[in-house]
Symmetry: C2
Subunit: 233 residues, 2 copies
DNA sequence: GGGCGAATATTTATCAGACCACTTGGCGCT
DNA sequence: AGCGCCAAGTGGTCTGATAAATATTCGCCC
């Protein structure tokens, strides 16, 4: 039959697949600029509207980046770019899935913290301490949350697996944490959180991966258990 | 009028955020049908083209589903819907990130297998065995891969964490596995793979979580190590 | 009266063309 | 040579129309 344009799915869907294929096969290098929307539409034999929808789809996936007036570029395809949508999942999840996400986070966070205990550099450790102190020096929940996020982010990056760090970033995204925290911290968990953070820091300083893993697992596990209780109650 | 959204970012970007907010705040329930494209465009004061791009964006994220001739619906917001894009990440990753993804998979897969050892039902265990036997009964790589995927998927689902299963599904997506497998299996790893699968199955039957965790970690770790060696060589 | 099929209405999918907003690079002026 | 302005190029948005798939309604036949 017709091997150039088989009739499957929607026109836009095909365009998305073709663009993905171009990048997947290496015909488009990271950072490279694509032809214009108009040219691409002509090449694939579709209208500019449909082409734009396909481009928009790949843009939200973090594969492409459109710069107004300049052109369309392939991103560096780094973990952070591609896993941005992960945060959306966290934001839209409720109830049971929230617990499941926390369970995933517990598994990854404990592993990342264990790896960090073995690999963290002096500079990174200093950063961790900076956020730890800043977190303990204020009572503003907004600021505490901010440093808490940075505390864990620094550790995740020190683990040396950017992909894992990017996933954890999504699982700790601002609105996600804020939603869970609102209730959790109301029950006076500040002090316990401080102790848990201190224990994690201790394990990092001692370069003890197993202690770090246990401390991180317990830290996330606390929130997880609270969340689980909220659902039952 | 509407003084809440004066001038930030692109029109389409704003529409995406507004739609996300509607769903996030629960103003749109899962499965519910949205107003028509035209109505939505009018409500938000934008053109239908822009509205369509916003809808397309949320469609690829797995949040919305458009049915030709019928309308636009909110998905059930299940893990599988939302984490579909995870497979795209795996497909577009190369080199170092491929190893990082395998590391993530090793961590999650071993945890899921350990959980499954404790929770798997008789029916599910029978399914696992079915795929294990089918995998050993053929020499067709395509069929082996297919049953291998089903083997691990069944175990992940038995772990009882749908979110984790969905992520693992993405990390094991067909093209991802196929790419890695092509080289790996050429080195005659079939026999070793069989032994590893058998060990995992054994641990499940014995309901021994720690043995299951170790077996799964070793299984993925084998591929991971091979991949790492490929990069250096 | 009830079931069933065709006509009709609704809605998404796609296309075409125009104009606006922003970026970039070159051209001319100082 | 340096600076500033302008024009071409490009993504962003809008309008309106047509096709295709689905949902609804109505009329016909039994």
């Amino acid at each position: 039959m017709d091997q150039t344009a088989p009739q499957k799915g929607t026109v836009t869907g095909r365009a998305i697949e073709q663009l993905k294929a171009m990048i997947g096969e290496g015909r488009l290098e990271p950072g490279e600029r694509l032809p214009t929307e108009r040219d691409l539409a002509t090449q694939l034999g579709i209208s500019r509207s449909s082409m734009r929808e396909a481009i928009r789809a790949l843009t939200v996936m973090g594969v492409l980046e459109a710069r107004h007036g300049s052109g369309i570029y392939v991103t560096q395809l780094e973990a952070g770019d591609l896993l941005e949508t992960f945060g959306v999942v966290a934001d839209l999840s409720r109830g049971r899935r929230l617990v499941e996400l926390l369970e995933v986070r517990r598994v990854l966070e404990s592993t990342a913290t264990a790896l960090a205990a073995a690999r963290i550099s002096a500079d990174q450790l200093a950063d961790v301490e900076k956020h730890l102190e800043a977190m303990n020096a204020t009572e503003d929940p907004e600021e505490i949350l901010s440093h808490d996020l940075a505390f864990h982010r620094t550790i995740a990056l020190a683990a040396g697996n950017d992909t894992m760090a990017a996933i954890l970033e999504g699982l700790s995204s601002r609105t996600f944490r804020a939603r869970v925290w609102r209730g959790y911290q109301e029950e006076g968990a500040f002090e316990r959180t401080r102790r848990e953070h201190a224990r994690i820091h201790c394990a990092l300083v001692a370069r003890d991966p197993e202690a770090a893993r246990a401390a991180a697992a317990a830290h996330v596990g606390e929130v997880e258990e609270w969340m689980r209780a909220q659902l039952d109650g």
